[in-house]
Structure formats: structure tokens, C-alpha cells
Symmetry: C2
Subunit: 575 residues, 2 copies
């Protein structure tokens, strides 16, 4: 068996290692156009920021080491120019010498990755306009920084853009982040991305939303960028992080079909239409677990697993890729944002009905030090409550909740199942009623008809049709309240129902939604049938609209009603 | 509807709050013998250590507040003396006045908790021998400490004992921990508890295993404890943390049946044999999700959920408790130990067949700062690979992995399913091949026949029957190796097969099991069919037997072959 793998990073390296373990005697050749294989590409932004201090830490694998440990024939600087599917041969060019040669294969695995997009803007080829995908890209950025740079512009507010922006701040630069959409982090819904944006801004990154770069021009050794909003930014370097395009040219040239999203098509065995050619990683299209739509998921986890699956199938094992959830996470200075499954936006696009809940539990028992507020959004089907997606933002424990919800979603669990999960609890780690349990309670209460919401995005059109009631304390109400709201604190509600109009719908709200829920239960059972509670309370409202609560900081120090917060947390925890 | 709830902490408070939400008009009375309701009992050890600085933080709920927010009639200092099931009345004693009165109920919920065991030892009633269950217990311990104490003895190495020992060290005391079994933390298997023990010792706690307290005697204002091993310890205070006994006397007296484990029996609706009496929390027996055995699970999460379920059923909602997994976690200074499902010990006791894997992945990408080694053990069925239990020990990310595995176990997932989980990955949070994925790979490889283990507990009987081969580097081998092992580093293995005996089984090992796995694959395919790889490698071996690796420290600084460790991690991550 002779296996040739084109591309030696995540997917390709996984394929090679798995193939060797399955067959000690196979001939396994890895052809990599660049000089580096199996390096830690997700670490690149952090070496720029000197968080990962030694470049060497990203580069432990070499062809020599892979020869020794896995008996792989790894050839760096070898680019595949053409595939002859009929003859099962490749035309390979050794870049150092320029010579080309033929290499045969029994099975071929394509793991060519993707290339950062450089939009065709005037001046885009300026050497101080960088992308960040591989080690040479990183080295080029570091060289520009070392030459003396004080201001950078990052174009694109996705993972790479945000990670680079943070790390350039760590390097002491002034940083502008320019994003065409009205939000950063398009994998999150806008209201969930908002706190990350506020936090970025609080850390010194100037964020320009709904703004595109129009053109670049060299000015006195620096770069002048003209933006779509009329602004002009002069910077020492620009990082383009506006997405990637799958490297499919080689595959297309030999007649392998490209899918609607621009990636190579494979079956669940990662096999293309050619039974001897497999493809894995960022270059392929996969199906979404939730929507069934084809997607390009430039994610390390799926790439690695696909590599294993390709190797399995070369050796006749029928393992299958189980579609992509899109689980992802990003660190933004002290904050973290993560998601799994479908976003609200993608459910709408796919015409999939859903319901949603928001909650803001403490990251761990609020009486134990260093607890902070977690912001959680969970999407599920209206009939049956099957999980469709989840998003979390916060300072601590975001990864844990996303991973639990990712596992639950993969298992086909419902919000009713989340109610019963038995998760680890001690005060430093969580709450007796875990945030994921609470999400289940909220969703299950909604589907059972025990709770009904109004949503921040319905303000003010819907709330204008009824009476808006703030059930927080007078002190909280005084500090800030939704314009038009009257204040009837929860603790006085039972005694003041005579003040409440009976002929119109009631829109109640509190800080996080819990006191509002108690108010909802009281009012509905006392005959106010058309009552709605603001999902996620003031905190979610403050992600839709900028309020005094919209700070991007842990625990909203601007409005520190510590006692009320603790009371809420303890009620939630112990009851 | 008149509901009386006996006991106002976790289970009782949950019942009351849920009942109020379900019925605004119900009369809900909570009778609590002590002076405190719905306090943060899991926080008690941390206030002793001044980690939680303000006592008030543990005590936010008061009868007044619960009246205001939930319209509950909470009576502290009221003890129920008898239940008349026929008349549906209680005899209640107001402890402050000594007066008794009758209280009727439509539905009664018992949430009486459990009482710390004070074994009947000579001198056990000495006032400086404490337990820690509630606020008065905590206050008594604090008073003893404030009176000037320099040495403490903790009896019992479970959650409470360990948490108290840590917090007494924080207070500057000298601490001896005495445990009758051969390990601390009986919910973990012994080899998993070992690192926690080493870490406790490294932090200054003197651990005495297989040792019981025999008697206590006052000596010059202090306490002298005679231990079963002949040692005598003189301390200023003793904390008894040897377990709890369900408070079932009241229930027994009115004829409600007690189960084989000493707890009250209920059905899945938390209903006793009396259709109007429910019971929840530490006083009831529940079934294990995995073994089906009845168990007493003194855990906050189950108590809270049972309270909700009792309230549901009072109002005719048929919700059911879905049995107990026993998910639990404990912080031990900088380390954390957690578990879910069955332990190996409990599977053996229940005669349930199982297989097991050990692994030691990095808590997050090893090239990103502050990564540490995680120790993971996963138990699963031999046919089908269904998850049966998991244990994790480490410095970071233990809670996350236990929660993911708890969710997967609850969902009925197999090790084959773990291979496909799509968990959140960025360098600060994990690895592209997540530790839980890796556990799946190991388990699935084993069940598919791609990998076979020998286990540390089989040393030396089994390994004496064959050839023991250390496949680590010569430097690692020189530093420490298993007596009798020869050294054939993985990287030279393919060239040195002539040196390997063909007539006897081969027992290979490395540091964590990964290089051993590669060696296994090579050897088996080259005809050495009777090859076995040490599960978990030297690190698991060092939990069974004390070696130079047995330090209880992050990343085993005593043997820091940084380069090899990184190589292992990167191979594992990228391939």
C-alpha cells in the first residue's frame, strides 16, 4: 500500500499518523509545499503577542522526527502540480531545485487547507499588509513589528482578527479593528457578541463596525487605509483576517467536484468521487449536524478527526464523519466567547423553527471568591425541546458549559434532559443547580407553558401595547430602567396588584430574568393571563441596546447591588 | 393545598420555591429545627479558612426574605416531634418556648438531611471534638480556633475532611489527617486518589492511612488522640468527618420504610409509601444510574432536583428522578479530583464487567502557558463500550472533563461516540484532539482489537512471564525505570527487533502510554503478537507504586524531559 498525503498540517498529519498505526508496512509519503509540518498553527497569534515566548514551541515536529517515530517520508518544499487520476500519479515540484518528478499512489489524501482571502483592493499588495495562516506569515508580521511599529489595523472581527488584535495590544501597539458586519464574531448572534466587543474596547482596541477597508496607499513608510465610512487610518501594518478560501484548484483541475460553498465534496468516509482520493480539513465541505446545510468549517478538531477517518477507510474500515457542529471558542483578553450548533441567525436562514432562552448564572457559587457572571443563550426546537445550539460569554467556565452543551446536543438531548444532568458541584466550580440545569429549567418551563417571554428585540413595539413593569428594587430602578417602565418590586407585588391594569398585557422584567419569572408566576395565577417576562432581563436587554449595564466587565461594577445579586444567586442555587 | 416541608436547606428550600411557583395560592410552611434556612452549606469549610471572608455571604436567606419573595411561612427553631399519618398532622415543638402544637398538612415533604457520625469512642464527647454540617458547627470550630489553636487532627479523608484540612492549613495550623482506609477520597479508585494524597502532603497535611482514632483524652487543655497504629497525637481540636447518617428517626417512627442503606425509601416521584408524604435529599436512598444499586448520595445537586420533583408531583405533574450518577468534585489546594458514574471498585462489587483506559493529556495545548497534566481514567462495558464511569485528577480543567463525561454517560454514549465529540478548542482551553476524544480513541482501539494493555497492578507477576521493554529515551530510562526493564527507545525500535525475544510476551511502556501504543502497533504488525502496552504508562504506574514521578505536583518537575513531553503532546495533538 502506498499512500501519498498532500499537506502536512492538522488533517494531513493526522491521516499519516493514523495510517502508520494501522499499517506498519505501508509506504506513506507526505508532500508539503511549505517548510513546516504539523506545527501549532492555532498558537501563531500568541507568539506574536509574546504570550508563547519561544517560537520553537510551535515547531516541534520535523521530517526527521516523523521519520524516526512514525517512519513517514515527509518532503517539505514539495508542491504537487497535477494529479493524473487515470494513471494514479502526481506531478511534484521540488521548490528548492525547481525540478519536477512523478510520484505514484495507491491512495491519495488531499489536505491542502485554505488560503486567507486578500480582497482585490487598491494597494492590497503592499508588503506591510499581512495575513496570518502559517509560520512564514507569523515571521513576516514579527519582522514588521521588530522594525518598529506603533499602530496596527486589523481587518476582520472573527477568531483570527480578534486574537491578533489582543496580541498586538500585548505588544504595546495601538489597534483599530475594522469589521464589515454590524458585529464581531459572526458565529455568535449579535447580542452575544456585544459584550465581547465592549470588552475589546475596554482593553483599548478601537472597533469600527459596518466598516470596510476601501484602499491602501504607502505614506512616508507607513500605510494609509481609506475606510468605507470616510475615516482614514495610518498604520504601520495591516492584518487582513477576513476569512479563508479552500485550496481546491489542484482538485478541480483533475475533475473532482466542488460544492456550493466552494469546498471539495466528499462522502462521510471523506472519499471524493474518485475511490482512491480522499480529502480532509479546511478544504472540504461538511454538513451541519443541526441544519443539514453544507458548510466550510475551518476548525482544527474536525480536520484532525477527518484525517483519522480517511486513514481508516483506506484500510477498509468503514468509519464515518458525523457531520460538523461548529463548536468553537475564542479568548478575548479576560473574556471568552463560545458556541456550538446553530446560531439563531443560521436557524432563521434554514427556516428551522426554534425557541430560545437567555440566562446569566454565576460562573460558580457567588459566595466563593472570583465568581463572575456568565451569559448563556440556548436554542431548541419548539416541539420536543431538542437542542439546536448554544452560545456562552463570560470570564470563567465558558468552555465547560459549551462542551457540556456540545455533548448534549450531539447526543440529541432536549431541554428536559438538561434539567436532569448531574454535573460536578463544589463552590469553586459551579452551583448545585448548574447553569446548564438552569437552561433546562427555563426551556422546559417555556415548553410546558409555565413561563412566557417577551424579548428585548420586541422593544418598544410590543411593550408599547401594554404595561411595562420593573420588578427590581427601587434603588435599581432609580439607577436605570427601561423608559416607560413603572416600578413594582417583586417583594411588594402581591400587595399591589390593584395598581396593575387588567385590560392590557403586562411586560415584566428584572436584572437577569429570575425575579421576573417569580413575578410572572404570581401574576398569571392571580388572573393576569397576558403576562410576559423579559428573557434574560436587563442584562440581555443591555446587549441589544447600550445601557448602563453594557460594560463588557465582570459583574457589572457600574451597578453593584451586591446584596440583590447575591439574593438572586442564592435563591437560584438553593431553590 | 397546604404543604408542610420539614427541613429548610437544599432539598426543602427547593421544594418550597418550586411549590410556590406552581401554586401562588398554596399554603406553604417550612419547619426548620435549626436557626438557619437555605444557607450555603458547601461554603462552610471555606469560611473557616477565611477564603470566604464574610460569614454573612453564607446566610443571605432569612424567613423574612422568603416571606417577601416567595410568600413562605418559614419557622426556624421548630422541630417536628411526630407525624400522624392517619390524621395528617404533625406535632411541632417551638424550641425557644418549649411549647408544642399540631400542624395539619395535605402533603408533607421530609428533607431532614443527615447527621455527621460520631463513632462511640472513649472521650468522643469532648467539646473540642467537632463535626461540620451546619452554621453552628462552623461557629463552634471558629470559636475553638479563635481561642488559639496550633494543631488540628481531621478524622476522615472524604470531601469534608479534605476541605477542612486545607482550610486549617490556610489558617496556619499544623494538620494531621487520619483515614481508616488505604486511600483518601473513597469515591475515587485508589490509584486516582494517590496524587491528591501526595499533593495534600506536599502542602503540609500529614496523612495517616489505614489508621483509626481509638480514643480521646483531655491533657492540659488540649486533646490527646490515641491512634490504631500506636501513634499519639496531641491537638487543640479534632474534626470528625467520617461520614453522615440519614435522619430517618421521625419517618421510621410513623412507619415509613427504611432501605438497605439506611435511608428512607421513595419511588422515582420522591413519594414514600404514604401518597401524601414525600422525601428528598441526603435522607433518601436512590438508585445508581450505572449499577442499579441503592445508594446514599449526600450531594447538593440531586437534593435540589429531588425537591423540584417532589413539588411537581404534589401538583400532579408526573416528573421523575432519573437516578444518581454520583458526580462529585473536590478541590485539594491547587489540585482537583472529580468523578462520575461507577468506580472500578463499585463495578467489581456489583459484578459488572468493564474495561478501563488511563490517559494523561495536557489540560490545554502544551505550547500555551500554564498547561498542566491531567490524569484521566474511563471505565466502559467490554461489549459495546458504553460508558460506566470516569475519574479525573489535575490542576486545571478537571471539572470540564468530568462534566462532559457525566453528560455523555447520562446520554448512554459509548467510547465510540467519544471519538466523535466536537468540543471547543483554542490553545488556552484544550487540544484539537480533546482529552475526552483521546479517551474515546483509547477505548475504541482497545475494543476493536487495535491495542492491548497490561496494567500496573499486574506488576510484577505478569511482567515476570515475559520481556519488559521501556521505549522512552535513554535519558528517561537512566533517571528511573521499572526494575527489570530493558531500554529500546521507540525511535530505534524498528531497527532493533532482532534483539527482541520472539518466544515470550512483550510488556512495553513509556511515560504516558502514547509512545508505548506506537511501539505496540509496530511490534504486533511485525509478528510479536503477544505484546501489551502499560495502560497510562509510567504516570499511572507511579500512582500504584511510589516512584520518582509520584510527586503530586503539576508537570512532574522532578523529571522534566521537556522536549520529550512536548513531542508527545504535539504528536497527540496534531496527529
Amino acid at each position: 500500500m502506498k499512500i501519498v498525503i498532500v499537506g502536512g498540517v492538522a488533517g494531513g498529519a493526522s491521516t499519516a499518523a493514523r495510517a502508520r498505526r494501522l499499517d506498519e508496512l505501508a509506504e506513506i509519503i507526505v508532500l508539503e509545499k511549505d517548510q513546516y509540518v504539523s506545527y501549532a498553527n492555532c498558537g501563531l497569534p500568541y507568539h506574536i503577542g509574546n504570550v508563547i515566548k519561544e517560537r520553537q514551541k510551535l515547531l516541534v515536529q520535523t521530517p526527521e522526527r516523523l521519520k524516526q517515530s512514525l517512519n513517514l517520508d515527509v518532503r517539505v518544499g514539495h508542491e504537487v502540480m497535477a494529479i493524473d487520476r487515470h494513471q494514479k500519479t502526481l506531478t511534484v515540484r521540488a521548490l528548492a531545485t525547481g525540478e519536477t518528478y512523478q510520484e505514484s499512489y495507491d491512495n491519495l489524501v488531499l489536505s491542502l487547507g485554505a488560503t486567507p482571502i486578500r480582497p482585490p483592493l487598491p494597494g492590497i499588495d503592499h508588503p506591510q499588509i499581512h495575513v496570518l495562516r502559517n509560520i512564514p506569515d507569523m515571521d513576516a508580521i514579527l519582522a514588521t513589528l521588530d522594525a518598529g511599529a506603533s499602530r496596527a489595523m486589523v481587518v476582520g472581527g472573527g477568531y483570527i482578527g480578534i486574537e491578533v488584535a489582543e496580541n498586538l495590544i500585548h505588544r504595546g501597539l495601538q489597534v483599530d479593528l475594522v469589521e464589515m458586519m454590524g458585529q464581531i464574531m459572526a458565529t455568535l448572534d449579535p447580542e452575544m457578541a456585544r459584550d465581547l466587543q465592549y470588552h475589546l474596547e475596554a482593553q483599548g482596541v478601537k472597533v469600527h463596525l459596518k466598516t470596510a477597508a476601501r484602499s491602501f496607499a504607502p505614506v512616508a513608510g507607513r500605510l494609509q487605509a481609506d475606510l468605507s465610512n470616510g475615516e482614514v487610518i495610518t498604520a504601520d501594518l495591516v492584518i487582513m483576517a477576513v476569512g479563508v478560501r479552500p485550496n481546491t484548484a489542484l482538485a478541480q483541475a483533475c475533475g473532482l467536484p466542488i460544492g456550493p460553498r466552494g469546498g471539495l465534496q466528499t462522502d462521510k468516509h471523506m472519499r471524493t468521487i474518485d475511490p482512491n482520493i480522499y480529502a480532509v480539513g479546511d478544504m472540504v465541505e461538511t454538513e451541519s449536524v443541526v441544519t443539514g446545510e453544507l458548510m466550510l468549517a475551518a476548525l482544527a478538531g474536525p480536520a484532525n478527526r477527518q484525517g483519522r477517518i480517511a486513514a481508516d477507510n483506506i484500510f477498509g474500515r468503514g468509519s464515518q464523519y458525523r457531520d460538523t457542529q461548529g463548536t468553537a471558542i475564542v479568548k478575548v483578553f479576560d473574556m471568552v466567547g463560545g458556541s456550538t450548533g446553530a446560531s439563531e441567525r443560521s436557524l432563521q436562514r434554514a427556516n428551522i423553527p426554534y425557541r430560545k432562552v437567555y440566562l446569566h448564572p454565576a460562573s460558580h457559587a457567588s459566595y466563593y471568591p472570583a465568581s463572575s457572571t456568565l451569559h448563556l443563550k440556548v436554542l431548541f426546537s419548539p416541539d420536543g425541546g431538542k437542542l439546536l445550539g448554544a452560545q456562552a460569554i463570560g470570564f470563567d467556565g465558558v468552555d465547560k458549559r459549551i462542551d457540556v452543551l456540545a455533548t448534549a446536543l450531539r447526543a440529541g438531548m432536549t431541554v428536559f434532559d438538561l434539567e436532569h444532568l448531574e454535573l460536578s458541584y463544589a463552590p469553586p466550580f459551579g452551583s448545585a443547580k448548574a447553569p446548564v440545569n438552569m437552561a433546562g429549567f427555563l426551556g422546559a418551563n417555556l415548553l410546558r407553558g409555565d413561563h412566557n417571554f417577551w424579548y428585548a428585540e420586541e422593544y418598544p413595539e410590543k411593550t408599547n401595547l401594554g404595561c411595562l413593569i420593573d420588578v427590581r428594587t427601587p434603588a435599581e430602578y432609580e439607577e436605570w430602567h427601561i423608559p416607560g417602565a413603572i416600578n413594582i418590586p417583586l417583594n411588594t407585588l402581591r400587595d399591589r396588584t390593584v395598581e396593575i391594569p387588567t385590560a392590557q398585557p403586562l411586560f415584566v422584567y428584572c436584572r437577569v430574568g429570575f425575579r421576573g419569572y417569580l413575578a410572572y408566576r404570581i401574576l398569571v395565577q392571580l388572573g393576569f393571563e397576558h403576562t410576559f417576562n423579559l428573557a434574560g432581563g436587563m442584562l440581555t436587554f443591555s446587549s441589544f441596546y447600550r445601557t448602563a449595564y453594557s460594560t463588557g466587565q465582570a459583574n457589572y461594577p457600574a451597578i453593584a447591588h451586591a446584596e440583590d445579586q447575591v439574593a438572586e444567586a442564592i435563591i437560584a442555587q438553593s431553590s
